[in-house]
Symmetry: C2
Subunit: 184 residues, 2 copies
Amino acid sequence: LVRDGGEQHRESYQELNGLAQVPTLTWEIEGETRVLTQSMAILEWLDAAYAEPAIVPRDAFRAAQVRELAEIVNAGIQPLQNLALLQKLKAEGIDAKAHGRDVITRGLSVMESMVSQSDGDFCVGDTPSLADICLVPQLYNGRRFNVDLEQFPALLAVESVCESHPAFAAAHPDRQPDAQLAGT
Amino acid sequence: LVRDGGEQHRESYQELNGLAQVPTLTWEIEGETRVLTQSMAILEWLDAAYAEPAIVPRDAFRAAQVRELAEIVNAGIQPLQNLALLQKLKAEGIDAKAHGRDVITRGLSVMESMVSQSDGDFCVGDTPSLADICLVPQLYNGRRFNVDLEQFPALLAVESVCESHPAFAAAHPDRQPDAQLAGT
């Protein structure tokens, strides 16, 4: 996202993702290339395309609670602390890091209150869901913004359970093929 | 949202919606009050709770296209032009209206490109979906920000079909019980 001024701004990428954002999923089906953007649309599609493991509960209200938590990250926090807005704020002389820290703290506080009242080891229940998939990278980002995460014990407990789950471990940013590790 | 400094900031509302945002859905079931926030979680829950009319297509890829368009509004445009951020930008001396106009124009451009390639009278296919439910208020908001909508003929065509649909007509902001009409 920052290498070479941001690979997401390349024309070839913007043909796939008009908002120049990540992620974009592309795949082939019957000789046709399909393209899908927007994190939640991609996650819901993966859930429909691969029956197991289910990442949206079957029960409608539990599914709603999962989507509510996921959307607090996806629509409530992430757009307000993503690179494009922060670069704009910085250019206007605003303390972008403090802005990011504020919106992350506010959103995570609401999630802490919900998750602390929920049952199970994960955000909702005893299996990973959309909510956990959104929470874990948001906590990672919280650390980048120096958010004091100790005030969110229920969220840290979920994160710790996720960290020991092989799918979450394999998805860690530092383990991706194009990761630039600190100091490299 | 602006009356009395914003009714969403009242303590009694924030007990239901920690982010002090709209909407919030509450209902009673077996003597228990349930509360749900986040537009997409509420819409998906309504779709699951009321079989007809379906607002998410059964086909997984069409459902993904619907959610992609809905999320361009929900996560790609709306958080960047909502009242809380605009008030902050304004307080910092930034032209908040121009910022809102930019993000709306950018997001609608991407949607125009997608919808113009889609079949049917609505955003995706011949029945209203989540995508239309998100598009119509975003176009309404575009006018408030003086966005030139003539550059989006495919979106305006969908809007016009929606306007003649009774459910959309009944949901128009000016027809809500607490609407403050211009000049009143």
